[in-house]
Assembly symmetry: C2
Homo-oligomer: 216 residues x 2
């Protein structure tokens, strides 16, 4: 019974997400669903790639509570919009549908969706994205791919942050990469320093090429 309810929720969500994606694609909008733990560096990634991607760009920020990140992005001139779930542990397609009705996303835009800080539930709910990016911080430890295989397995690339404190924290990058090869073989891994922006150029270039590939 519980499984049937869950399946019905997923199916309804999947259908709406597919409709959102088709509508956005028809207008040349490319949508990225950004996933990761609390404090992994998702907002820093958004900030750094927003400066480097070509063309118009809009951001949807998901949080359980507060609009701290949206305010910070707006202060930088980014067209950012907040979804505050009030307790829900993931974004879903109906939430995206509702906020898109308020936004004025330009044709040909990038649409970056920062999901709720959570390595589990957001992996289960598509929101209309063309691809998922997972952000993982060295501070979380190198065992995260083996402990949370679904989110790594469903992402098109992994952004690895806070490597400047890897040694202090005892983070073993080799073990992290081995974990990735076990749960998501071939997943590209992009190091990023969220504060200096080192590494963001490569991520932006990869996103541009992924977008070109989808358009073909």
């Amino acid at each position: 019974m519980r499984i049937e309810i869950k399946r019905a929720i997923y199916e309804k969500n999947d259908q709406l997400a597919a409709a959102i994606n088709a509508r956005l694609r028809a207008r040349g909008v490319f949508t990225v669903n950004i996933l990761g733990s609390p404090g992994a560096g998702k907002t820093s990634l958004v900030r750094q790639v927003a400066e480097r991607l070509h063309g118009p760009l809009a951001v949807i920020e998901g949080d359980v509570s507060s609009d701290i990140d949206t305010q910070a992005l707006r202060a930088l001139g980014v067209d950012a919009w907040q979804i505050e779930t009030g307790g829900d542990c993931h974004l879903n397609a109906p939430m995206i549908e509702a906020i898109l009705g308020k936004m004025d996303v330009k044709d040909g835009s990038w649409l970056l969706i920062e999901n709720i800080g959570n390595l589990i539930c957001p992996a289960e709910f598509v929101v209309g994205e063309d691809l998922k990016l997972v952000v993982s911080s060295a501070a979380e430890g190198h065992d995260k791919p083996l402990k949370y295989p679904a989110i790594f397995g469903r992402s098109a690339a992994c952004v690895l942050t806070k490597l400047d404190i890897a040694e202090a924290i005892g983070f073993d990058e080799g073990a992290f990469r081995k974990g990735i090869e076990t749960v998501a073989p071939g997943l590209p891994i992009f190091p990023l320093n969220g504060r200096s922006g080192a590494g963001a150029g490569k991520i932006a270039a990869w996103l541009e090429s992924a977008r070109s590939a989808v358009r073909k």
Copy 2:
């Protein structure tokens, strides 16, 4: 309809959790539900306090996938048991009931339950605990209390880890404490170095006094 289903799930879980807690208390077992993000340092906390608490001790480790932490604790001689949820984002009372049937928890024990790495859903499901501890790492950033108020609001104390990298990461402890005062006024905050164990003595002493208070 969805809200009614959720309420029914919570009520059933709450009832079983209350029964588990009553049964454990009658045998002098004191149960701690340990919450926090992936990589916050929950297992390090367990390891460090396990060495310092008086009397018999058992540990239940919750993970979506893998038994890495249970194996590591067993290698140290800790009586640790794994719950692998296979996708579920929190532990619940039925999972605890099931694993307690396999364990041999001694009368008068400490029972430490390490919940799934997640700052959201585990706050909603009691599992038979006497109190909750939330572990937050400096690497996650100082805005976590304001972003995840429920989990801080429902915990009896907060363990703050990885302060040795606070400066490198730009963690503002004053802002963190201000956030705690907003969402959980008066919540005790215990710094812990998970590797050296510095700070663990105070946490163990606080747990001993919390246990004595409950017994009165």
